[in-house]
Amino acid sequence: MSAELRRVIEAAGNILLGKQEVVKLSLACLLARGHLLIEDLPGVGKTTLAHTLAQMLGLHYQRIQFTSDLLPSDIVGVSIFERSEQRFQFHPGPIFAQLVLADEINRATPKAQSALLEAMEERQVTTDGVTHGLPEPFFVIATQNPSHQVGTFPLPESQLDRFLMRLRIGYPERAAERDLLSGEDRRQILKRAGAVIDSQRLAEYQQRVSAIHVSDALIDYCQDILAFSRDSADYRHGLSPRAGLAILQGARAWALIEGRKLVLPEDLQAVLPATIGHRLQPAGDSAEPHGESLVMNLIGSVPIP
């Protein structure tokens, strides 16, 4: 494992106790230039995770709390008539940051949601005919409460597809939780902790992800997985080519974190639940709303060529 990246993970692990795997995956998502969706109950550390990552990687961080009365202009910014200059002046919104935490995204109306998602996709914002580029790197961590909670607008499937990964944090283990309950306030530790790398290094790492080698054998494996999801009767829809790109990109980033120059099937399997869990729906009216067990079955069903 790359030493620098390991330090990032370890440092983040000190704050988000017992969640190494989640930290690693979210770092992989970031290195793969993808956006991250965290879906879990309130209070398990979604915001902390986003905050920690921003801190460790030395990113400019903004948080947008999504509410049902949030307007698109509250996200992207607004043009205001400046009397002194006799013209409209664009006041950038909170989205102009390197790491944006879109908290509880499913509490906002679809209109506000799509403003964010468009910005994510295009990596730029257009108001009044003027295009404003977003900072580089640009990384959105959206959090979402489980959709069966009251007063939410669950993201439609097409929007879910824009997130490279969907993670769930889950409750901490007993020992980790004990440390959390008995130890110092995590926010204080976070304030003290400095950045491990800066955005310059981060950009370099992102470059290196693209250079990780993907062999024909691995592409075969990826295609077999896509084909299985399309042929099997267990899923409502098969995976899209974009899902295939996401899988490979995620696997590359994972391989980089593991310190490899090439992608192994194991890397692909490691990122698979996070990259396709939100893109797969069970066929029929299954009681299982999340895709993780579906992904496990899929991994078990597709032999490695």
Partner: protein, 660 residues
């Protein structure tokens, strides 16, 4: 990473499998003795009880002991372990013992495949359509269990494997049908078990009073008949079997050598011949039945000069044949030798018989009148037609005629024939069946054992052999209506089904007729689909220019090509065309598999190497080196690097793990 759901043998699954295995065996209950069936049930109960009280499950030694006991039981029952019946009993025991041994996935495969085999053995006993449908259902059930254990994900609904199997079966059906029709048929069966027959009921080649009335209790089917035109009336539906020329006064028989010599017979046709097809059940004797009188001999049989059909071998399996018959006919000449035989008498002729005949002779102008007198005698004297005739131990004919006066058809036929011979009229006894029950659904007649009948034929100058049925003179209902099979006390008159029974009886008859009809079609088109039928079909398609051998080769060639194409498709889809690196890796995995470390199909090389190294730290270095090379070849896209490839191949070759 997490593992997919692995299949574990659950009690529910064992119950299902045991049930299917028992169902596969069930029809054999009719073929094996009751005590063996009970023993099999005991073995099954043992397993089911074991589901609830696990302690009951037999260990290895107990199971071995049970196996030996089972073999001993079979041997005690049959005095052999070979042959159809003992073999099936043994197979049943092995199957039910296997039920007690289902613990692993492998046991399930073995159990299902033994069950398939048991299902095949069912056809050694019966090939009826009902059994076939039943067994098809069992096959689907068993296959769905195979499907269930081979699923990676648990089925969403419990009956889903069953539906899938049903679909697979439907998909297989056209292939089965095509192969059934075109695949060359074997004329000789591969096994010849069916001759190992139990005693079958049927007519004997020797008749004495009482032989037919024994048959009358059996409702087994003797044969079925389908007419190609409107059937003759019931009074003419006499089914000729054997003709008896010789008598010692007690029983009638025939000396084959003398009668079967062929001779040209001039026959006058009074009516047009009737065409029909007979589906004969096996009766273990070498003769066939035909409507009185057959005009030709079906394949593998001869027509004797007294119009018996002799088959080349005992009929041990169902056969069909088509025939023409004349119901009304005349003949001109009786050879002197035959006339002598037709007048020969036993030593039981008494004076009162001679007196009776002399009285008729005095009152009659010709032979025909004597016949009428005799029939009138049976009709007017207090003769009784009974299913339970008294025994006539001394001189049967004499005691029947003058003392008992109660008898069944053979009593009347034998006495009548003997009286005719005393009167100097050549006569002979004919044995066969009379009537038959019409199956409206299949438009054919079922002739059962209780239709067995005996009648006489007398030679009248100018007319030839004339059928005389003295039974009809006593009890015309015998010919008109079916017998009611209620056996009264000895000598009680027979009853007849004149009203056709109640509604329930009618429904039952309707049902049995429907079933019988389905069976006969099944036998005609499926079981009876012979090489001859196949060639006829080929000729209709203009394919008859091939010889049987050529045709076999062509069919086999076609099958081979189809299999090859299917196989290639599987290879292409399954990417079984492996690269050298993959082949090497495969060998490496196989070697590890032999020492108990098998790679799961979804397990990546690094995961597998780590697991293997954890299991066998002594091999860790070698394993890691090989997997490292493999990863470089395969995932760093260096497969074309010949040097590395050779290194990899050598390392795999030198990797010789031993079981610890």
């Amino acid at each position: 990473m997490k593992q997919p759901v692995d299949f574990t043998v659950t009690p529910a699954f064992v119950t299902k499998l045991s049930l299917m295995m028992a169902l596969a065996l069930l029809p054999h209950v009719a073929n094996i003795p009751v005590n063996i069936s009970l023993y099999l049930l005991l073995l099954l109960t043992w397993r089911i009880a074991g589901l609830y009280w696990t302690r009951l499950l037999p260990g290895r030694w107990l199971l071995l002991a049970a196996t030996l006991i089972s073999i001993l039981i079979v041997y005690a029952q049959y005095q052999t372990l070979l042959g159809r019946d003992a073999g099936v009993a043994l197979l049943g025991m092995m199957l039910m013992l296997k039920v007690n041994e289902i613990t692993k996935r492998r046991d399930i495969y073995v159990s299902v495949f033994i069950s398939y085999f048991v299902i095949i053995t069912q056809f050694l006993f019966s090939q009826s359509v009902l059994l076939t449908l039943y067994l098809l259902g069992v096959v689907i059930g068993l296959t769905s269990l195979l499907l269930e254990i081979n699923r990676v994900t648990p089925p969403r609904r419990p009956y889903q494997p069953l539906i899938s199997t049903f679909k697979i079966t439907l998909q297989a059906l056209p292939i089965a049908l095509v192969l059934f029709i075109i695949f060359p048929r074997i004329t000789q069966p591969l096994w010849n078990f069916s001759s190992e027959a139990s005693a079958r009921t049927g007519l004997d080649d020797r008749v004495s009073p009482g032989t037919i009335s024994e048959l009358i209790e059996s409702s087994e089917v003797a044969f079925r008949v389908q007419f190609m035109q409107p059937p003759p009336p019931k009074q003419q539906r006499y089914w000729r079997g054997l003709v008896m020329w010789d008598t010692d006064g007690y029983s009638w028989y025939t000396d084959d050598k003398q009668v079967l010599r062929s001779e040209t017979i001039k026959l006058m046709m009074i009516d047009n011949p009737v065409k029909y097809e007979i589906f004969l059940e096996p009766h273990d004797e070498a003769w066939l039945f035909a409507l009185d009188l057959p005009l030709e001999a079906p394949p593998n049989s001869r027509l004797s000069q007294d119009f018996q059909l002799r088959y080349n071998e005992p009929v041990t399996k169902p056969i069909n044949y088509s025939l023409h018959s004349l119901t009304r006919y005349g003949m001109t000449r009786l050879a002197p030798g035959l006339r002598r035989r037709a007048l020969q008498l036993g030593d039981n002729v008494t004076q009162r018989q001679r007196d009776l005949v002399a009285r008729w002779r005095a009152d009659s102008a010709d032979d025909r009148a004597i016949v009428d007198q005799a029939l009138a005698f049976f009709n007017t004297e207090p003769f009784i037609y009974t299913l339970s005739p008294p025994r006539y131990p001394g001189n049967p004919v004499d005691e029947f005629l003058f003392e008992g006066m109660a008898g069944f058809c053979e009593h009347y036929a034998t006495s009548f024939s003997q009286l005719m011979r005393i009167a100097g009229i050549p006569s002979r006894l004919v044995l066969g069946y009379q009537g038959g029950e019409y199956n409206a659904l299949g438009d054919y007649f079922i002739v059962r054992q209780y239709h067995a009948h005996a009648w006489s034929e007398v030679w009248l100058e100018g007319r030839g052999w004339v059928r005389i049925d003295p039974t009809a003179a006593v009890a015309p209902e015998r010919i008109e209506y079916p017998l009611r099979l209620a056996f009264g006390e000895q000598g009680a008159p027979a009853m007849f089904e004149i009203d056709g029974g109640g509604m329930v009886a009618a429904m039952m008859r309707h049902f049995t007729h429907a079933l019988d009809s389905a069976n006969i079609q099944w036998r005609r088109w499926v079981v009876g689909y012979s090489r001859e039928h196949q060639f006829t079909l080929m000729r209709n398609f203009g394919l008859d220019s091939y010889s049987a051998m050529q045709w076999s080769l062509v069919t086999l060639g076609m099958v081979a090509i189809v299999l090859l194409l299917v196989g290639l498709n599987i290879v292409r889809r399954g990417r079984l065309l492996l690269s050298p690196a993959q082949q090497g890796y495969q060998r490496f995995c196989n070697k590890l598999s032999r020492i108990g470390i098998s790679r799961r199909s979804y397990e990546g090389p690094m995961d597998f190497a780590r697991r293997a190294a954890r299991n066998r730290p002594d091999l860790a270095r070698q394993i890691m080196a090989i997997v490292d090379l493999y990863i470089r070849l395969r995932y760093a896209s260096q497969e074309r690097d010949g040097r590395q490839l050779r290194l990899f191949a050598r390392q795999v070759r030198q990797f010789r793990p031993r079981q610890r």
